[in-house]
Point group: C2
Chain length 440, copies 2
C-alpha cells in the first residue's frame, strides 16, 4: 500500500503518486451493492472455492445471502460488500484477497490467522492437482528490481513507516523486526529476541576486540548487543534513515557509540575485512540477481578465519514471493530456497558449517507481534488510516499462516572460507547455558 | 585396484579380468631404468611442478639425480624408479600419481598425508590461474553408473574386501567405516564412533517403540546401537554380503536380532513407512542420476511426522570425484555439493531442519584409521600384496589431505516433510550430555 497516503500526518499531498504500490479501490457509486447477485456470480465463487481445494469457508454476499458449505462445515465466513469485489476476487484472487480485505470490502468472521492457515493448507493440497493453465494464472509476478537506487525505494517503503509505529508492537528490548528464538516455548517476545541475538553471537564465536560488519541493521539492536555483551567493534550498514536515527540515538544513550559505527549506505559498499560478517533479515531484500555479488562481497570482507552468518526467510523450493506481499508490503522481496541459499555460499568458495531452520519460531514471533498490534489498535489508527491497519493485519496474519504451514522457512546459515581450519570442535558450546535472560 | 588379484587367498584366477578397476603396471624390462635421463625429461617435470603451483617437492630420478628446489625448500622427495613412470606422471598426473605410488614406482620420502596435503593446497591455488585447456586435461571423468546391478559391483569392489581386513584398522566398538564425531579432540576412535552413533540418534529424536529404516548399513553398528540404547525396531538395507554376514552374527550375539532386520537388498527396494529414515555414508555411492528417485523414496518411506537424516561426504562446489579414487577405490562415487544435497531435499518437498559439517572430524577419523592400518601392516601384507597395501595407504593419506584442505566436506542433514509441525523446539537437547561414553 502507499504509506505516504496512509500516514495521517502527511496525507493528501501525493495521493495519486503511481510509482509506489497502492491499494485497489473503486469509487463507491460504481460498486452496485444494491442489486441482487446473479446466479453465475454464485457459480463463480463456488468454482473458485473448489479450485482452492474447498477450504472450510462460506461467503456472505452483499445482499446477506450465503454461498458455500453449511455453517457447520464452514469455520469462517467471508463477507463481500459489492459485486466488483467478487469479480476482483475470482479473476485475481492472489492479489485481490489482501487488497479487498484492506479496503474493507472483504470482511472476515473468525480468526484471521486461522483463516489464512486454512486457506494455505487447502491451496497447497489443491495446487498439486491443478492444470497448467491455472498454475500459470495464479503465478506470482517477478519481484521489483533491487539495484542500489531501487533498493532505497523498496526499503523506504516499509522500514521508514515511523519508529513510533514499530515501537507499538515490536519487542521493547532491542526493536527486533526479525524472527526471535524461543529456546523454550514460554519465553516472552523480549526474552526470545534477546535469545536470538545471543544465539547469533554464539554461532559467530565472538571474542572481545573482534570486528564485525553487519549488512542491514534495522534499529541497530544486534550491534548494540554485540558491543555491550561481547566487547566487539561493529560496523552496521543500513539504508533506512528512520531506523538509523533511532539506532544512533540508542547507541549514544547506552554509551556504546565508541564501539559501533552505523553507516548509512548500501551493503554493496561495505569495505574492510572483519572477523565476522552478519546479516539478519536482509537477504530477503537482496534479490536473486545480486546473490553472486553478495557472495563475492562476503568473500572479500571476511578475514581468513572469520565466520559469516546469514539469517533469512527462505523456501523449501524456489518460488516467487506472494504477489500481494511483494506488491503492497515488501517491494522487491524474494526469499531464497535452501538450494539457492547454498548457491550463494558455493559461489564464494565457502564451506557451510551449520544450517538451522527456525520456521515455527517465526510463527510464534509473528503471533506475539499480532497480539501487540491488536492491543495497540487505537494508537495505530491514530497514526494511519483504517486501510493501512487492515493491510498490516493481513500481512501479519498471512505471515503467521505461511510459517505455520511450511510455505515459508527461516534459515540461519553459518559458513567460513573453504580453507579455514580454525573451526569450533562442536556446536556444544552454543548450548552451554540458556541464551535468553531469565526475565525481561 | 583389482581386489580379486590383490587378495592373496584368491590370486591369479582373474588377473586379466578387465571389467574391474586395475592398476597400471608395465613389465620391468620395458622400463629402461638403466639409461640416463634426457634434459627434456627434467624440463617436463619442472614444468609439471610449476603448473601444480610449485609445491615443496623435489624429484629423485632413477639415476639418483635430483630435479626441483633445493633440499631446504623441498619438504618431500619423490623418487621415480624409471622413465615410463615419469611419462605417466606428466601426461596424466591425476590418475598416475596414485597408480605409480601403488606400484612402488613413485616412492615418497616424508609423511604421505602431509605430502598429499601440500599437493592439494598447492594445486588448489594454482588451478585458479590455469588456462582452460589445462583444466580440461586435468578434469576427472564421470563416475561409473550406479544402477541396481552396477551398484552391486561397485559396492562389492570395496566393501567385500573381507571383514578381517577392516577389523584390523576400524574401531573395535561398532566397525564404523564413516566419519566419527570428536565432540572433544582427545577422544579415542571407539569413543568418537560411539559418539557419532549417539549424535545421530539424538538428531533423529528416537523414542522406544519407534521404527527406523536404514539405507546402507555397513557392518550394522548403527542399527545395533539404536536397538540396544533406544529400543527401536530397525530395518537395515545393504548389498554387501560380507558386511551383512558380520552384522547378523553380531546382532544375534548381542541378542538384538528380534529388533533388527538386516535386509540384503538395494535401498531402492525399501518398503513400508517409518518414524525415521537414516543413511550414513551411502549417498556418496548413489550417483546424481538417482537423487530424485532417492528423494521420492524417502518421501514415501517417512511417516508424516518422521525425521530423516542423511550423512555423506560432500563438496563446497559441484566437482567430480578424484579420478584415481573413483577408478581404484570407490567405483561410481560422487560426493554431492551442498546445493546438490539440498536439491535432494527440495525435490521431495522436504524442510531442511539442520545441517552440520564435520569435515575436520573426518580428517581425524582417517588419521586414526591410518595409524591403526600402519600398526597392522604385517597382518595386512599377510592378506594382500604390497600393491594393495600401498594403494590403501595412498587412499587414506589422500583422504586425510582432502578433508584437511577443504576439498571434501562431511554433511549431516536432518529434514522432515514440509508439512510436519511436530518439530523439536531447539537443538539444545542434542547437547544435554556428552555423546561419547566416558571410556572405551
Amino acid at each position: 500500500m502507499n504509506q505516504s497516503t496512509a500516514r495521517k500526518t502527511s496525507a493528501t499531498t501525493d495521493d495519486h503518486q503511481e510509482d509506489r504500490p497502492h491499494v485497489l479501490t473503486l469509487p463507491l457509486e460504481d460498486q452496485q451493492a444494491d442489486r441482487e447477485p446473479h446466479s453465475y456470480e454464485r457459480w463463480l465463487l463456488a468454482k473458485l472455492m473448489r479450485m482452492a481445494g474447498s477450504p472450510p469457508v462460506r461467503f456472505q454476499l452483499w445482499n446477506d445471502e450465503f454461498v458455500g458449505p453449511e455453517v457447520g462445515q464452514a469455520r469462517f465466513t467471508l463477507r463481500l460488500t459489492d459485486p466488483k469485489a467478487l469479480y476482483a476476487l475470482v479473476t485475481n484472487p492472489n492479489l485481490a484477497f489482501g487488497d479487498l480485505y484492506s479496503a474493507g470490502r472483504l470482511q472476515v468472521e473468525g480468526d484471521l490467522s486461522d483463516l489464512m492457515e486454512a486457506l494455505y493448507r487447502s491451496l497447497h493440497n489443491a495446487r498439486q492437482q491443478w492444470p497448467r493453465w491455472l498454475e500459470a494464472l495464479w503465478r506470482n509476478h517477478n519481484p521489483r528490481p533491487t539495484g542500489v537506487s531501487e533498493a532505497r525505494e523498496n526499503i523506504h517503503h516499509h522500514y521508514d513507516l515511523g519508529n513510533e509505529f514499530y515501537q507499538l508492537w515490536l519487542d521493547q528490548a532491542e526493536m527486533q523486526y526479525t524472527c526471535a528464538y524461543y529456546e523454550t516455548p514460554e519465553l516472552t517476545l523480549e526474552q526470545a529476541q534477546l535469545a536470538k541475538l545471543e544465539h547469533v553471537c554464539r554461532k559467530l564465536r565472538l571474542k572481545p576486540g573482534m570486528t564485525v560488519v553487519e549488512a542491514g541493521c534495522g534499529w541497530g539492536g544486534l550491534a548494540r548487543y554485540m558491543a555491550r555483551n561481547y566487547g566487539v567493534k561493529v560496523h552496521s550498514y543500513n539504508i533506512s534513515k528512520e531506523q538509523l536515527t533511532y539506532a544512533r540515538e540508542e547507541a549514544r544513550r547506552q554509551q556504546l557509540d565508541h564501539l559501533i559505527d552505523y553507516v548509512e549506505d548500501d551493503y554493496r559498499n561495505i569495505s574492510g575485512q572483519y572477523d565476522a560478517f552478519v546479516s539478519i533479515g536482509m537477504l530477503e531484500h537482496v534479490g536473486k540477481d545480486n546473490y553472486q555479488a553478495l557472495s563475492e562481497l562476503i568473500r572479500r570482507s571476511l578475514k581468513p578465519n572469520g565466520i559469516a552468518l546469514l539469517h533469512s526467510i527462505g523456501r523449501n523450493r524456489p518460488m516467487l514471493m506472494n504477489a500481494w506481499i511483494e506488491k503492497r508490503i515488501f517491494p522487491g522481496a524474494y526469499p531464497p530456497s535452501i538450494s539457492e541459499f547454498m548457491g550463494i555460499c558455493e559461489h564464494g568458495g565457502f564451506s557451510v558449517m551449520d544450517v538451522e531452520n527456525l520456521r515455527l519460531h517465526y510463527a510464534q514471533t509473528l503471533t506475539h507481534w499480532m497480539e501487540r498490534f491488536r492491543n495497540n489498535m487505537d494508537k495505530v489508527t491514530g497514526m494511519y488510516d483504517e486501510h493501512f491497519v487492515r493491510a498490516w493485519e493481513m500481512y501479519l496474519a498471512g505471515s503467521i499462516a505461511a510459517f505455520r504451514t511450511g510455505s515459508l522457512q527461516l534459515f540461519q546459515v553459518v559458513f567460513t572460507h573453504g580453507e579455514n581450519n580454525q573451526l569450533p570442535q562442536s556446536r556444544k558450546d552454543i548450548y552451554r547455558s540458556p541464551a535468553a535472560p531469565e526475565a525481561y
